[in-house]
């Protein structure tokens, strides 16, 4: 296991896109070591992405397993039309939607965030902020939560989020807009949020 992944609060080191594409080619040839090399860094990323969609660890496990099962089977179909990460996270997103349909798509209650936090200079402030964010996110629907996590948690671009969610860029914009509006109403802890009205009317297609 890479040393960095053992350090709390540090993400596992990421491979670059060329490394990942090379691993996919080896996976397509049936190389299990390559599958493991890709699985480990992605497990962490997918775990946190999926944790925004459901708090059930059994469902998260199932979705990660299904995702890499498909990666194993379909690695040879990857043509490089997108980044490897977009392809894999897109598979995970589709598996997650299916799992949420099977298990019910409402997340569990907003968790007590204290167990998720790592030691910081100001644990109380972090706790409070993470708790509010978890509560706020639980008010969003699955698509809005996924959009927010992909953009702010994983740092994907607008076009990448559209690719992952297999939808138009305009749909991502609408989801992001509504997520922002909903969060500003439930996250007063982020100082001054309620003081100003939203910057435009809530007239998009996704309440």
């Amino acid at each position: 296991m890479p040393l960095l992944s053992l350090i709390p609060g540090r993400a596992a080191p990421r491979l670059d896109d060329a490394d990942e594409a090379a691993l996919l080619r080896r996976i397509a040839a049936g190389d299990r070591a390559a599958l493991e090399a890709l699985y480990r860094p992605y497990h962490r990323r997918l775990d946190r992405f999926l944790a925004r969609l459901t708090r059930r660890s059994d469902v998260i496990e199932e979705v990660i397993n299904d995702t890499f099962w498909i990666v194993w089977q379909k690695a040879g179909d990857f043509r490089g039309d997108s980044r490897v990460s977009t392809w894999i996270v897109g598979i995970a997103y589709r598996c997650a939607l299916k799992a949420l349909r099977d298990h019910g798509d409402e997340p569990a209650e907003a968790p007590d965030a204290s167990h998720e936090l790592h030691p910081t200079d100001d644990p109380h402030a972090r706790h409070e902020l993470a708790d509010w964010v978890a509560k706020g996110m639980s008010r969003l629907n699955a698509e809005q939560r996924a959009t927010m996590e992909l953009a702010y948690g994983a740092g994907h671009s607008l076009e990448e989020v559209a690719g992952i969610m297999d939808c138009e860029v305009s749909t991502v914009k609408a989801r992001m807009f509504h997520a922002r509006v909903k969060l500003r109403h439930v996250l007063p802890v982020l100082a001054g949020w309620a003081a100003r009205p939203p910057g435009r009317q809530e007239n998009d297609d996704e309440p």
Partner: protein
């Protein structure tokens, strides 16, 4: 004219508002960033929104402890691959399996070799003995398994009546299984269907809840 100016300002405000998350997460291009910065200098709403979204982005980006264990997950994945290989080795492969369909091809090829050796030994035995064929049936005998057009592995949580109802609706029947890996071989009630009809049934099965694996047997099939 005033209307036009107002409309243009409103459109610019909306563009800026929509671009804020992507400026905040660092993926907006330089032109977008300049445009948002310029607009925000004159727009208090967008200035505040930039600050709010920066705070929110930092909060969402906080790393939490994983909810699942990578090592355990990897073991489960490898076990699943082993089980699927076992299933593939038990079902006779067709000649036209799609190229690039992944490592199963190699297992199916291995199964062909094993079967060929097995059949030739059996054939030679029968030739030399000259007696009637045995009353028992080998695993590779072209009976039920040969009729299977696809195989499925239902999730343990799927009830029997749910599975039956699903298969009835798709006019499919179980012709073999479950094997050690929990896989069933399915065939169309009508006996045979064309590739499009089979693909539609596979797609419907994959979309149904409770299916862990749905794969065509032998011939080409649609991707997951």
């Amino acid at each position: 004219m005033n209307h036009e100016v107002r409309d243009a300002a409103a459109a610019e405000h909306r563009r800026s508002w929509d671009a804020i998350p992507w400026v905040v997460n660092g993926t907006a291009d330089a032109a977008q960033r300049r445009r948002v910065d310029a607009h925000a200098q004159a727009c208090a709403d967008c200035r505040d929104e930039l600050a709010r979204q920066r705070t929110l982005q930092a909060a969402v980006a906080q790393a939490g402890a994983p909810l699942t264990d990578a090592d355990a997950g990897l073991k489960r994945l490898m076990r699943r691959i082993d089980q699927a290989s076992e299933v593939a080795a038990r079902v006779p492969p067709g000649p036209a399996r799609r190229a690039g369909s992944g490592p199963l091809v190699y297992w199916l090829a291995a199964a062909v070799v094993v079967e060929a050796v097995g059949l030739s030994v059996l054939g030679a035995g029968l030739l030399f003995r000259g007696g009637p064929a045995p009353a028992y049936q080998t695993l590779s005998a072209p009976s039920h398994e040969a009729r299977a057009a696809l195989r499925i592995v239902p999730a343990p949580a799927l009830r029997v009546d749910e599975l039956q109802s699903l298969l009835r609706g798709l006019e499919l029947q179980i012709v073999s299984g479950p094997n050690a890996a929990g896989a069933y071989g399915l065939a169309p009630l009508a006996g045979s269907v064309n590739a499009d009809q089979l693909a539609a049934k596979i797609a419907a099965l994959r979309a149904a809840p409770g299916m862990r694996l749905v794969e065509p047997v032998g011939g080409a099939g649609p991707g997951s």
